[in-house]
């Protein structure tokens, strides 16, 4: 069975066109943002902002279950990587930076980490991901290439917004989660482990951005982050579906377009990508606090 490369290329082209259009929209908004920057620069340190984050995090920890439910769920979330993602103690945001800028810099750092990790998966053949043959191998490779491109555009968007608000651009991987990835890489034994790692990184990004929506003061930053969040969580949905098909022993169904083989997809493929009616943060420790990726 061979992949419809021409159709896939067309789809990629369409995706690229959408991306150019979207970036144009963001760039058009930057001049307006520079005006905001000048105002924000005068503001100095806002201790209320710091308290906003720290209070928000305390509530998250309390309501989302660092207690029994949260810990119990964690093991099931990320397969064999679960233990590596545990035990990450959060530290509060520092009262020496504009919180919006910190959040944007940390978002940039998450995007950089995702880019580096996806690239490493290919260049280092992590978990033998490059050895997946047939249609599935080609689709996974295309997915990684496209996802890297999308994350890089997200990074650029966050960097542009950081600069517009008067902050320094961040291009270093997130400190907290780089350590997690470094610890996870030697444990990757197969493609499923790589998919788990990628899903974990997309979860970190999506959950972090969701929490941040309530923390931002700057409206444009909120718009951009919500827009990116909607894409990261589609990456996550795709990875969940891919994982389900790999676990079902049906890698041949990882194909685009699926065509008549839609009828062969197991029922779980129609529901596994969205396990809850409302996206749930299963582990608050997988949220990247603003001081884990800010420019020191």
């Amino acid at each position: 069975m061979s992949i419809d490369e021409r159709r896939l290329a067309e789809l990629m082209e369409e995706s690229n066109d959408l991306h150019v259009d979207a970036m144009r929209g963001i760039h058009e908004s930057i001049p307006m943002l520079t005006e905001i920057r000048e105002e924000r620069r005068k503001d100095g340190v806002d201790t209320d902002e710091i308290e906003r984050f720290n209070e928000g995090r305390r509530k998250a920890l309390k309501t989302m279950g660092v207690g029994a439910g949260g810990i119990a769920a964690r093991g099931a979330l990320y397969g064999s990587l679960g233990s590596i993602f545990t035990g990450l103690l959060a530290s509060p945001a520092h009262a020496d930076k504009n919180l919006d800028i910190q959040i944007l810099q940390t978002a940039s750092s998450l995007e950089r980490l995702a880019i580096n990790t996806y690239n490493a998966a290919v260049s280092m053949n992590l978990g033998g991901i490059g050895d997946v043959t047939g249609t599935a191998g080609m689709v996974i490779k295309k997915f990684i290439e496209t996802t890297v491109m999308q994350h890089d555009e997200h990074r650029k968007g966050f960097v542009a917004q950081t600069t517009a608000l008067g902050g320094k651009p961040q291009d270093v991987p997130n400190r907290k989660f780089q350590a997690v990835v470094d610890k996870a890489v030697p444990t990757l034994k197969g493609p499923l482990d790589v998919v788990d790692l990628a899903a974990s990184l997309e979860t970190v990004a999506g959950d972090t951005y969701l929490v941040n929506l309530s923390l931002f003061e700057d409206t444009k930053s909120k718009e951009i982050m919500a827009s990116v969040m909607g894409v990261e969580t589609q990456h996550l949905a795709t990875l969940r579906a891919v994982k389900a098909l790999l676990e079902a022993g049906a890698p041949e169904l990882i194909k685009i377009p699926i065509g008549a083989d839609l009828a062969k997809l197991p029922a779980v493929a129609g529901s596994v990508a969205f396990p809850n009616a409302f996206h749930q943060i299963m582990d608050p420790e997988l949220i990247a606090q603003p001081d884990t990726g800010d420019v020191k």
């Binding site: 896939l8 496209t146 589609q234």
Partner: protein, 223 residues
Amino acid sequence: MTDTVNDRELDSSVPAKAGFGRRQFLVGGGVAAAAAFLLSACGDDEDDASTGGQTDTTAAAGGVDDAKIAEVAAGLEVLAVSTYQGALDAAEANKLGAVPPAVGAYITTALSHHKEHLAAWNGVLKSAGKAEVTQPNATLKPTVDTAFAAAKDVADVAKLALMLEDIAAQTYLKAIPLLKSKAAIRTAGEIQIVDQQHAAILLYALGMYPVPEVFQKTDKAAF
């Protein structure tokens, strides 16, 4: 796959926005314009163009209240629930031909999700002392009804569902910067995510790339 329901036609048939495009919204004082539109969408004035033109900064400063956004959201959810319920009924009556197991599971799951979303927004309205929304978005309903009536198979229904999920997810994305309550922002974000994920799986089922955009857009938003 039949072409009974053409997604491009569906896209173009979605009612035009209130006299300003996405770019104008982003660049040209869009928060104020959208706030005014939301106020009008909830019963004041149907003249979209004039609404946009009459907007001033007072609207943004005073703000549209979260209940107005909840009403718009609930109207979309009613439409989604009725459409998915119709699809489920049609599938069970063998009116859509063979229904793949994954598609059946999707319809059942998405239906339950949208019921919960509707309940959440009606909960917001109830707590604000407002009446619950039980009627579908009146602007979109004729388009959806026409498309549903023409649907002959699961592909047609999937295209219609994709349109609804896109509209819903983009509406939530557009609403997030306007909402004031942190709880409402969180709810909108959680639903935006799930609707985007619904869309990703529908795209895959329809033979398309599941993550087609670099940045989620708002050009199909319901306001």
